[in-house]
């Protein structure tokens, strides 16, 4: 007889031993594997009924299933939970860490998008951001080095395979945990910050106004 878990037991107790194992395996895989896991690999993701149980477990802890490339799954923060926590001022990532991450995202994702050389619609990119590109800002070398170390430990950046010009970085697997709404939010915030007076920024503000109205209705 296994120990009861105060939070998950209401979901788990009605499952057969086998279903329980499969649900827990899928839950663990989407929560703790660095990269999204293939749906075919796990019965807990393949079977819609079991997947619903996985989603229920995730909902209890403020998370949700995120589908990646149509064939893989991972988990990320539920949009309402992320919004509620950040609205309270909760942001564990330091400003320097966030700034360095944004620099990597601009150089590895935004600029290749402007060059038209990045396909797909995610924050994944193989275009490396070099240390020189990170050096162009008002962050000291030591701060940047420590930030990169922390970001790497969290899977927010990773070393790119291309070391021809010294170490270089690409967005880490954790960026794939962003829900579609979070991905879009990041895109919009980046455009609003980089080109606030552009027509694109204006279009974003206009669209946000609409969604807010819809949300209130």
């Amino acid at each position: 007889m296994t120990e009861q878990h105060a939070l998950f037991d209401p979901i788990l107790r009605d499952l057969s031993d086998r279903s329980r194992d499969e649900v827990l395996a899928a839950f663990s895989a989407v929560q703790y594997a660095a990269n999204p896991v293939a749906e075919v690999q796990l019965p807990g993701l393949r079977d819609v009924t079991l997947r619903r149980q996985v989603q229920k477990m995730l909902t209890l802890i403020g998370r949700t299933l995120v589908k990646v490339d149509g064939t893989h799954w991972t988990s990320g923060y539920a949009d309402d939970v992320a919004e509620a926590l950040t609205a309270q001022g909760w942001q564990p990532l330091s400003a320097v860490d966030r700034a360095v991450l944004v620099l990597v995202l601009v150089h590895s994702v935004a600029i290749p998008r402007s060059e038209g050389i990045l396909t797909g619609d995610s924050w994944k990119s193989a275009r490396p951001t070099t240390v020189d590109e990170l050096r162009t800002t008002r962050i000291s070398g030591e701060d940047r080095r420590l930030a990169l170390q922390r970001l790497r430990a969290a899977g927010l950046v990773q070393l790119s395979g291309d070391h021809s010009g010294g170490p270089s970085y690409i967005p880490g697997p954790q960026l794939q945990r962003l829900t579609p709404a979070a991905r879009r939010r990041l895109q919009d915030k980046l455009i609003l910050a980089a080109a606030p007076a552009s027509p694109i920024a204006e279009a974003i503000r206009a669209r946000k106004g609409i969604t807010e109205d819809e949300g209130a209705a």
Binding site: R98, A99, V102, D121, G166, I191, A193
Partner: protein, 396 residues
């Protein structure tokens, strides 16, 4: 009679310049170029003429000066430029071999290159600056003011029409390719409004023409907003990033305070690093870290591919440098046998050697690892069998 003749002469002069400036865009006489690299050849030829001075050049001299390009290609481009009058004989006589070049094609070439990079926006900005300059001239007449306003009205109508047609007829992809039409429009419109203010202030009678310009500007602004809205709506969750020019991104990263950069991630949450250490992992790590001495193999010569279990992070340049300096401890060179012995056991030695190999291979680090053929065998050592060699600094 005289007037007609003068007109005809003026027309001929205009045509001559037209023909000259379009020479660089001609593939053959009568056909447009299809390969933009031909412009490089044209530029090389015109550059050579600039260097040649007032003596001009023969075809042979031109091909010699442009020897970076295939001989036949230079001869063909020379001929095309000649047919369009961009290059003419130094003196118009049958046996003249030396030629001279007109300056207008070169200016055109420079404009073309700039337009190809900036999509014509920069030129439009310059045109607007020139218009503002000319209508501000105290000697300017109301006719000149009207002409200026009319030109701008037409430019913005064309721009607005192009964009409006794109928005209504093209796919999102096509629209995105033409997103440059929407870039920097704020400044374009501001500049045009500036010209408008000057003209209206100086010649209130031109209010009708000015109204036309205002309408053209408004139509353009609407088209831009419509295009931007449609693009953003259909750009998905990351693709709208491509709607901004690269320069905007670079300026943003270079000039923003860290707080502004960090602010982009407001409202987003990320997972903290949460590595797991099971007792099994810990036990295994301790076991492999212990000096057990049982079943130890002699270390083979590490190859470039050597990947010790812990070297994933060691690819970091500064960490490699730190490790190299630790091993060198102020010296310029250190024996590998000493390094291996200092490491204590082979598992540690292997990690150190892997990092020294990585430091050796790293482009930005000035160290090298040189293996020799000798072998040290000492049964009492932590790693009894060690290949001889040195790790040392190199100056590049």
């Amino acid at each position: 009679m005289d007037a007609t003749l003068l007109d005809a002469e003026a027309e001929a002069a205009v045509l001559r310049v037209y023909r000259q400036v379009f020479a660089v865009l001609a593939r053959e006489a009568g056909a447009m170029i299809v390969d933009p690299e031909l412009l490089d050849v044209d530029q090389a030829i015109l550059d050579a003429f600039a260097e040649a001075g007032s003596d001009g050049m023969t075809v042979e001299q031109a091909t010699q000066a442009c020897r970076a390009f295939p001989h036949d290609l230079v001869v063909r481009r020379f001929e095309v430029l000649r047919q369009y009058g961009a290059i003419t004989k130094l003196v118009d006589r049958p046996n003249e071999l030396r030629h001279r070049a007109a300056f207008a094609p070169y200016v055109m070439l420079m404009f073309l290159r700039r337009m190809s990079v900036q999509g014509g926006q920069a030129e439009l900005h310059q045109l607007l600056t020139l218009e503002a300059h000319s209508v501000s001239d105290p000697r300017a007449t109301d006719d000149e003011g009207r002409a200026s306003v009319e030109r701008l009205t037409k430019v913005f109508r064309l721009l607005g029409n192009e964009l409006a047609i794109l928005v209504s007829t093209s796919t999102t992809a096509q629209l995105r390719e033409n997103a440059q039409l929407a870039w920097g429009n704020e400044r374009l419109i501001e500049q045009a409004e500036h010209v408008h203010r000057i003209v209206l202030g100086r010649w209130p009678a031109l209010h009708r023409d000015c109204t036309q310009l205002r309408m053209a500007l408004a139509a353009y602004a609407d088209a831009v907003q419509l295009a931007a809205g449609r693009l953003v709506e259909r750009a998905g969750t990351t693709r709208a990033l491509g709607l901004l020019p690269i320069e905007t991104w670079l300026t943003f990263t270079r000039s923003s305070e860290p707080e502004v950069l960090a602010g982009v991630l407001d409202g987003l949450l990320f997972d903290a690093a949460a590595p797991d250490f099971s007792p099994e992992t810990m036990l295994e790590a301790v076991e492999t870290g212990r000096r057990t001495g049982t079943a130890r193999m002699a270390p083979p010569r590490p190859s470039a591919e050597t990947e010790a279990p812990e070297s994933a992070a060691a690819t970091d340049r500064e960490e490699l440098r730190a490790e190299a300096e630790r091993v060198l401890a102020g010296r310029d060179s250190v024996s590998i046998v000493d390094v291996v012995d200092d490491a204590g056991d082979w598992v540690t030695a292997r990690r150190v050697l892997a990092e020294l190999t990585a430091a050796h291979l790293h482009d930005e680090l000035d160290y090298e690892l040189v293996w020799s053929d000798g072998m040290r065998i000492d049964p009492s050592a932590g790693t009894p069998w060690a290949t001889e060699g040195v790790f040392r600094r190199v100056s590049r």
